[in-house]
């Protein structure tokens, strides 16, 4: 085992996950490639969404990859930071909206 869980050198090896399960792995990568093609959303918009999700799921590989990808696709640093704020707002909101559940429970068990 490596002496660290995350190694930047592992990112380019992503494709090798097909070694142990070629069929599913290949399907995943062809789906992945299809998803990021220009469609109703531009490649840049998709990259910014990916960047925000990468932060929400806190995946260092994805943050690395989609920071560069967003720059390559022509996004600027303000757009990139705003995208992360969207992720943060949803994560924060998702925490806080459960406060209503907490308040319901308080009501239920309190005199």
């Amino acid at each position: 085992m490596e002496n660290s869980y995350y190694n930047p050198a592992d990112l380019p090896k992503f494709g090798s996950i097909t070694d142990l399960q070629p069929e599913m792995g290949k399907k995943f990568f062809s789906y992945y490639a299809e998803v990021f093609k220009e469609g109703a959303l531009t490649e840049r918009e998709k990259s910014l969404i990916a960047l925000a999700v990468a932060h929400a799921v806190q995946c260092p590989y994805c943050i690395d990859a989609y920071t560069t990808d967003s720059l390559e696709k022509g996004a600027d640093e303000n757009q990139m930071m705003e995208a992360i704020h969207v992720a943060a707002a949803i994560k924060g909101g998702a925490t806080l909206v459960h406060g209503v559940q907490m308040m319901n429970k308080i009501k239920e068990v309190s005199m």
Binding site: E43, L71, E72, D76
Partner: protein, 351 residues
Amino acid sequence: MLKKSLQAQALPLATPEFQLTVLNQRSNSGKEFPFFGEKLAQHELFPLKPTGIQIFQVNVGKMCNQICRHCHVDAGPDRKEIMTRETMLECLVILATTSIDTVDITGGAPEMNPDFRWFVEEISKLGKKIMVRCNLTILLANPKYYDLPEFFKAHNVHVVSSLPYFAASRTDAQRGEGVFEKSIKALQMLNAVGYGQENSGLQLDLVYNPAGAFLPGSQSSLEKEFKRRLKTGYHIEFNNLLAITNLPVSRFLDYLLESRNYEAYMEKLVNAFNPIAAAKVMCRNTISVGWDGFLYDCDFNQMLDLKVAAKHSQHIRDFDLEKLSTRHIVLNQHCYGCTAGAGSSCGGETV
């Protein structure tokens, strides 16, 4: 921000020999990249030969009013190498006697050459298409340049201008403090005389190159975004966006090494090698003339002092179309920059 060229700082990387040594040695972590020539050989493109000479690119000098971080010319106000009228005359003789139809004038800031206007006028008399690589800020650098848009218009010059981004942040990081604002003003001056406007016949293209150690994204989608942002933000119109990859030469190589991005960047270029782009590299239809009249396969080879491999035709005064058309193009590891992804040339993507 850079204050001087690498040459004025007397840095080892200012010399072509040192750059070539870096490009050909194992990286710090022991990584070795396949030789570019071998890569071409795998696709039956070696030795690489011209398909015909259509573009005559002339570098009229290394002097520039800017000192961009990524500049492969290592240009700047401290560079004194400049093409003389005598060498220009030798170029005109060749242009008059061959069917080469396009002249691409570059630098430095070509407009700073004292014979620039004369040279453009003479080429124009020969009925050749003229492109000028204008850094935009030169138009505002001195009152003597204020009428350049009119001059360009008078000779139907195709203006190709660098603008790495549609916002100040990244433009200024690459090209210097305040460059974005001045570039916007210059673009508005060009628009005002008709450049980039529909049906004016006056072509204004923008060059995008990434402000950092990453590759350009798709040219067409960047073009859409640039058009949208420049139009809504500044009422600027232009024709095409040319997306150009930064090659690991001179100041961009210095930047890569200094920021410890060199190895990852080279790896990216090598992994993105595209044989279709390799077949369409610009050196196959271009000849590049240096400020002192020597001939090269392209402006990058010029900066690396890799002269054309055409015996007895290495200088404009010995220009021999036959020999040059059958030459073997001189390749090295920087060439990976031309063949990555959708390819890159002075005219943008090639694929």
